[in-house]
Symmetry: C2
Subunit: 642 residues, 2 copies
Amino acid sequence: MALPPVYLSLDAAMSPKITVELLRQLRQAMRNTKYIAEPIQAYIVPSGDAHQSEYIAPCDCRREFICGFNGSAGTAIVTEKHAAMWTDGRYFLQASQQMDNNWTLMKMGLKETLSQEDWLISVLPENSTVGVDPWIIAADQWKNMSKALASAGHSLVAVQDNLIDAIWMDRPTRPSTQLLTLGLGFTGLTWQDKMTALRSKMAERKISWFVATALDEIAWLFNLRGSDIEYNPVFFAYAIVGMNTIRLFVDIKRLAVPTVREHLQLDTPSKVELSIQTAPYESVFTELQAVCASLGPKEKVWISDKASCALTQVIPKAHRSPIPYTPLCLAKAVKNATEIQGMKMAHIKDAVALCELFAWLEKEIPKGTVTEISAADKAEELRSQQKDFVGLSFPSISSVGPNGAIIHYRPLPETNRTLSLNEIYLLDSGAQYIDGTTDVTRTMHFGSPSAYEKETFTYVLKGHIAVSAAIFPNGTKGHLLDSFARQALWESGLDYLHGTGHGVGCFLNVHEGPCGISYKTFADEPLEAGMIVSDEPGYYEDGLFGIRIENVVLVVPAKPKYNYRNKGSLTFEPLTLVPIQAKMVNTDLLTQKEVSLGPHSLEFIFYQTHCFFRRCHSFIYTKIKHSFISNFKKSSLYSSNI
Amino acid sequence: MALPPVYLSLDAAMSPKITVELLRQLRQAMRNTKYIAEPIQAYIVPSGDAHQSEYIAPCDCRREFICGFNGSAGTAIVTEKHAAMWTDGRYFLQASQQMDNNWTLMKMGLKETLSQEDWLISVLPENSTVGVDPWIIAADQWKNMSKALASAGHSLVAVQDNLIDAIWMDRPTRPSTQLLTLGLGFTGLTWQDKMTALRSKMAERKISWFVATALDEIAWLFNLRGSDIEYNPVFFAYAIVGMNTIRLFVDIKRLAVPTVREHLQLDTPSKVELSIQTAPYESVFTELQAVCASLGPKEKVWISDKASCALTQVIPKAHRSPIPYTPLCLAKAVKNATEIQGMKMAHIKDAVALCELFAWLEKEIPKGTVTEISAADKAEELRSQQKDFVGLSFPSISSVGPNGAIIHYRPLPETNRTLSLNEIYLLDSGAQYIDGTTDVTRTMHFGSPSAYEKETFTYVLKGHIAVSAAIFPNGTKGHLLDSFARQALWESGLDYLHGTGHGVGCFLNVHEGPCGISYKTFADEPLEAGMIVSDEPGYYEDGLFGIRIENVVLVVPAKPKYNYRNKGSLTFEPLTLVPIQAKMVNTDLLTQKEVSLGPHSLEFIFYQTHCFFRRCHSFIYTKIKHSFISNFKKSSLYSSNI
């Protein structure tokens, strides 16, 4: 999936939320000394939760509550007289439809649009105070905002009680789902092994404490999963790790389950330094204060620079060591043999489900009864029949014709198109299985694609292959591969306006750091064998169609002819096994090399395609599955022990 | 030229400079109240001059004076007890040979090497004061150093009198060479036009004043050239431009020449706002103070963020608007039609000279009398016979066999190898002509290259062609093209450890911003039609040979089949016309597309090569020249009006 999707509940529809009364109440709260010592003149409502999660739980959708806009990115600011909401180009239309006229839409990326800082400075009376919940603003964002406001004579203050929560009468409670324990067969490493590795990194850099705030990092560290946030198998928690101490902050009720107690060795710790002290989720603040109060003069505490301002500022500056990527983030990104095996199994199951879907589509579409929503539902149903299926890994992007050109599209009843023999169908979807996470995009035509559709599809395929088959030195950062994905499109004057790949978790978040493939030179870490990323170039023709071809690929060592300075080389091995539709390809545009790139080659994909698109429609369900799996087993893609 | 060369005077040789007495004197100066109110505990000696020039005049070689090391990059720091010098991997060997044992070589880029800040903190007594000449430290460097020292209880202070100058008895005087005026036929725009354009950029951004500090920007703005710094046709000056004021700070004696006075309209200015007030070079500080004293409350002053700390801090913070690239830097990078025509002419002349050289080499090498130095001298001699030749644009990298693997090599008597029929010869050289600047690298073999040499040469050539023939959307930054240059090498497990291209001035510095092609994601500006960059991938086998193929290329509009979102596309047109040696190419490794990329194709280059390498040795001098030029004229490379 190229871009974070929209969080649309199907019944939200597109009529604006009436916010007159809510804004009145919020402005009252901004003056209420129950919450703040002095009235504030503006209140900032960011998108995120206290863990800077990309996907958030319903109780954390505060920005949506106050303004009605429910896209994944956006910040609302309310002053005594104004209310404004900043979002980017993906959401201009949606935001304008979901917000009433009490709100001004601030279109980010347009030259004339003021930044939040500049806008505040332009509307605030002199010496104003701007409030924000320090738990949902990241430390680096606080710093920038605070500096900008100070330069204009204003000040940014932390408002401890969230003012949205204060007026949100039917706010959902924070989820506290059952925890799932993962054994060695899925994780490859016990949580004790991971703890020891973390501590050795800390010792290496002379760090006394590490504060874990990202939910996927905590889930990975303790080999636990939850379902507090849709699509992301994580649970609300914090952890503080010292050289002899482990503190886990989580709703204590969740720890009553015997399997969880046993997994964490809560009652019978093997060693003192591996004994976990548990405490309520909310107590992390005071516990971190206590830890910091006892720090020696030279002791340092690691915390992500994207952690909340509230938690970051607990650590005195002299002891604070903020890092862009935590050791957990880096360790989690490099999958071990067990995780890789699990990811491969998950991708076989996922391919079986999607091949069944394609056969079903081929049969059903001519009847005119399949819609974007029903196709996505069918995909979910077929996936759910696979072993260890947990749920989807993100909301399916199921889009027909012009809807395919909307990169973050998610079908709604009022936009739902019927699949036909005349339009391109793009399906970007994925699942969580206990053994792994999938994310795959295929673009298909069930009638006769036009020459132009085939041409552009082939350019995208050439880009996809160029990345997938790239050989590059150890230590190369993913952003250096991005142009390979675009070269064929560029040569014909075409392009796509999103990145090419993101890190993928193993039964964890479908988007994870610290690596990726993008023209944006964010601070990505070098690619390493064992990392897993997506390879998903695309092409979008507004009002007509969208094309995207996405595989999840594993970084593996390559063995080219030479080995310059003993640096070693890397390449990718595709994990995704879903066939690419042969009829969309104009083979005249492919080089011989592109056609025959080894066992993961187009020839192999064509072979699969041939099986499924030429013969599948007459196969029965189990026969498809068997033939598909046996084909994989015969191929050199998989070792015989699968 | 891939990397800044070393500033080696041929007689400097490689014996260490004895610095006992110099260090004693410097330490005395560090306590002398004649220069500073309180003794300082450390003194920093950076590489640069007051204009942050890449190449510097002899009077500015202070770091070389104090420690003996004369590489292009390095910073010396002297404390009461220690003396240390930081430089990068290109210079470890050279620095260790040129410095005596009073100095510690700090090898940058190695994990165990402390940064200047950390080293100072580790050796200084509590509450120390560190001094630096504020004129030769850039504002952004001052900021970082000052912050780091403050965090450890020390302070950074500006020492107005340079302490090296205080002990440098025979310090050369600052050059003040004759100024050359350039007419419209060379510049395409009068300085008055440039001034008007600058002022309109200032008005657009509501900027009242602009302080020009980079020497090439000042030379470009006033259509003047000098020869104060070797290889760079610039002159020491500053300029301050307001909406109705122009102040030029330069050694006043230089303005006595009637042509210069007339060019600048010093005696008869056409308009008040185009009347230039001249003042001595040294008076820029007090004049800028005067300008700042009269600023209105909201007035802003533009200055490069790489300008000296001294000049930057004259501007009160509230009025200071530092920019990474000045409007002059950006305007200068986009060459106008006249400049492009001049660059083309310069490249024809340069190609003629180099073809003569190659023919001469082919004849002379078998005699065993040609050395790296004599070949470089011959190249200079042949170039100097061309019209409007001014000098070299950088010290020639003339290297045989293993010397070619030293990327910044410059032949010295003690390293000078003889060209033979057995070793690869790499020549990276360029010239300044009044109509343009050249920079070209060719790698040749005058006997029979080995299969391995041909193979690696061909990979480099493939990379060179991939960049040169790339088509990319308007707005693309050069760093996104860097991987194209490496793809063929990477596929065979090879790479090169330098960037792929740099901006090239028009009868100005051979290295200029703001664009480039590099894996390092420095803040490069997007490529634009009219920009000129080098395309110079390479491959280096330590102890054996070096390969580099460098053309200077012009960014031009491309017209591919489609035009996505009306963005338009760009590509490159090679300006360099020097043939590439056909016998170094393994044509089996080239695709058909690589062989036939239009009129600037390898076929064309092969044609030239054929002419010169197969027949040249029997041609007489003028015949070569005539045939070469007439070939260009017949080709589609040049319009008939050359």
